[in-house]
């Protein structure tokens, strides 16, 4: 940080830390008033908690095979019943949260890592670089998302890591598009011009002056995309292209459970409910964040 910037900002009435805090606490207070958002964050928090502390939350070892208790319905010993190997369904769903959440999170990180710099570079530098980057993004975007993810995992081979990579690539154009817009309009504003005039370097302008403009749309997009990624991970695993047995995964459990629809329908019901709950929570959170951070778009 240069000394010049320090003296410029020292002219304001409040110390910088206090001002920044009030800016975020304003959003925070607005968010706290949003009932849907609060429900979303609590449920998603609970799912994340089970994912992180799965060994403590689960009542059984999710891999433990016990042929004596095959295909038993919900009971006090096995809250959600047992599967065809006598494995505890509740424990597998808890560990499945770990699988789903980590694949979805990894996909979002990857999509941001590809999409955000692309969008920033395209928006800021413009010209042929912009055309090239956005053309490539348009092409990726024109594939139906799940179909592209399917083909990428087909090429890379079915595994959790590859499912996350595939989803990261599929969702990257959405991030690039959503970030390019604000950069494009912000770079023409006076304060950016002013900082260029006083000799700020391009990286400094990008990071210090333009990046804050994209944080809100980035957060909203990441949350909404997270719910898509959860659904897509379940779909890929359901088709056998994501998690490989015996790894507990909601999609795989659902697909396995379908074979016992007559005798043990709960095997297909509960994993689906788990997916729905996690996706619902992240949709609620996404809606609330959009209301707070981007009031123009209300759904």
């Amino acid at each position: 940080m240069s000394a010049g910037a320090g003296t410029l900002e020292a002219g304001a009435e409040l110390p910088r830390s206090a001002r920044r805090q009030s800016f975020w606490s304003l959003y925070l207070r607005q968010f706290a008033r949003n009932r849907g958002g609060m429900i979303g964050i609590i449920v998603l928090g609970a799912v994340a908690f089970s994912a992180l502390f799965a060994p403590s939350v689960a009542t059984h070892d999710p891999y433990e095979i016990n042929r004596l208790v095959r295909l038993q319905g919900p009971s006090t010993a096995h809250w959600l019943g047992t599967d065809e190997f006598g494995r505890d369904l509740f424990s597998r769903i808890v560990f499945g949260a770990r699988t789903s959440m980590s694949v979805a999170a990894l996909a979002i990180v990857l999509a941001t890592a590809i999409g955000a710099p692309s969008g920033i570079i395209a928006g800021y530098f413009g010209g042929w670089l912009d055309s090239l980057i956005m053309r490539v993004m348009d092409v990726i975007f024109s594939f139906p998302a799940i179909l592209l993810a399917l083909s990428i995992t087909a090429i890379l081979g079915p595994s959790l890591r590859n499912a996350a990579i595939a989803l990261g690539i599929v969702y990257a154009p959405g991030f690039a598009r959503i970030i390019r817009g604000p950069i494009l309009s912000a770079k023409q504003l006076e304060y950016v011009e002013a900082s260029r005039v006083i000799g700020a370097s391009t990286p400094r302008i990008l990071i210090r002056h333009l990046l804050p403009n994209v944080i809100s749309p980035l957060v909203v997009t990441a949350t909404v995309t997270f719910s898509f990624a959860l659904l897509a991970e379940a779909a890929l695993s359901f088709l056998g292209l994501g998690a490989q047995p015996p790894i507990p995964s909601w999609g795989v459990m659902l697909s396995d459970g379908r074979r016992f629809m007559e005798s043990a329908p709960y095997l297909a019901i509960f994993p689906g409910l788990a997916v729905m709950l996690a996706v619902l929570a992240s949709n609620l959170l996404g809606d609330a964040l959009r209301d707070v951070l981007d009031p123009r778009l209300r759904l």
């Binding site: 092409v139 399917l150 995992t153 629809m261 996706v279 949709n283």
Partner: protein, 310 residues
């Protein structure tokens, strides 16, 4: 549109080169009974013995003429296989879209008109759940409920709509509902917010104050203007819809392009995967183009000049 088409075909074509390792070794597996000659034969069949640009031009040239190559597994013509499966996929997509439109738009209109009531809250809640349900799970639940509680088993054998309409529809109704519900959820949300936006504008006040009946205000003035964002969402959801169709076909054992693709992926039948992915993506692109043209028809203010590039 044209550059996008070329880009899509390039990605689909080169995707097969990103398979780790030698594709021929991957395909022929570790089987010891495959001789070196057979491997060379496979290499030639895949056209891998020619330079890349030549391969690409040949592949595109053949595809344009309707020759998508042969399946590695069955040796059958992929184009023939797809032709027999396309009607299933298209019918499912159309029926799902109809479910989406006929449930989503009226629900959105009702929610907007009953603003601030429990009806609106309920509609929004249902829509949010609809958006969050995995369609393949919903399909599974439909099957479960139908067979368990109504002792109703949708036909296991596919029947064309031209042979027996009743039987055909009984096979398609559940998968169409499973795919259509998430579409109807997003349509309900956008219809509601678009209509609320429009209802607040000046010309609605004018229309009301000149004494028009509420139904006329709604139909002639409000709904027509709300249609633009609705059409946009329909266009954007098409890819999502077809993705859902691909997976739900597998759930319901429908012999469509989706199940064909999924089967080809597990067989590592790459030419089939390339062909179906290319075809479905092109289909989506053309429908999006159609949606773009629809804008100009719905909204006379939109005119496409020569300045428009895509």
């Amino acid at each position: 549109m044209i550059p996008t088409l070329i880009g899509v075909s390039l990605i689909v074509f080169f995707s097969i080169r990103f398979i780790p390792g030698d594709i021929v070794l991957v395909l022929s597996g570790a089987r010891s009974d495959v001789t070196e000659e057979q491997r060379d034969q496979l290499r030639r069949n895949l056209g891998l013995d020619k330079p890349l640009p030549v391969q690409y031009v040949e592949w595109v040239g053949n595809a344009v003429q309707g020759d998508l190559g042969n399946s590695l597994k069955t040796q059958r013509s992929i184009a023939t296989d797809i032709r027999s499966r396309m009607p299933v996929t298209i019918q499912l997509a159309i029926m799902a879209a109809l479910v989406g439109l006929f449930v989503g738009i009226p629900a959105g209109v009702i929610a907007a008109l009953r603003r601030g009531t429990r009806t609106e809250l309920a509609a929004q809640g249902v829509a949010l759940v609809g958006l969050s349900v995995p369609d393949f799970w919903l399909g599974t639940m439909f099957l479960l409920v139908a067979s368990r509680y109504f002792a109703w088993y949708p036909g296991a054998q596919y029947v064309s709509i031209f042979d027996d309409v009743g039987k055909n529809l009984s096979i398609f109704i559940l998968p169409a509902l499973a795919v259509g519900i998430s579409l109807s959820a997003s349509l309900m949300r956008i219809t509601r917010s678009a209509l609320l936006d429009v209802m607040g504008s000046g010309y609605i006040v004018t229309a009301r104050s000149k004494g028009l009946r509420e139904a006329v205000v709604l139909r002639r003035h409000a709904f027509k203007n709300a249609l633009i964002p609705i059409i946009t969402v329909v266009g954007l959801q098409l890819g999502y819809l077809l993705g859902g169709v691909v997976i739900v076909e597998t759930v319901f054992n429908l012999p469509g392009v989706g199940r064909y693709t999924v089967q080809a992926i597990s067989d590592r039948d790459y030419p089939v995967v390339q062909a179906t992915v290319l075809l479905i993506t092109i289909l989506v692109l053309f429908i999006s183009l159609f949606v773009d043209i629809l804008y100009a028809y719905v909204d006379p203010r939109i005119k496409y000049g020569s300045a428009r590039s895509s």
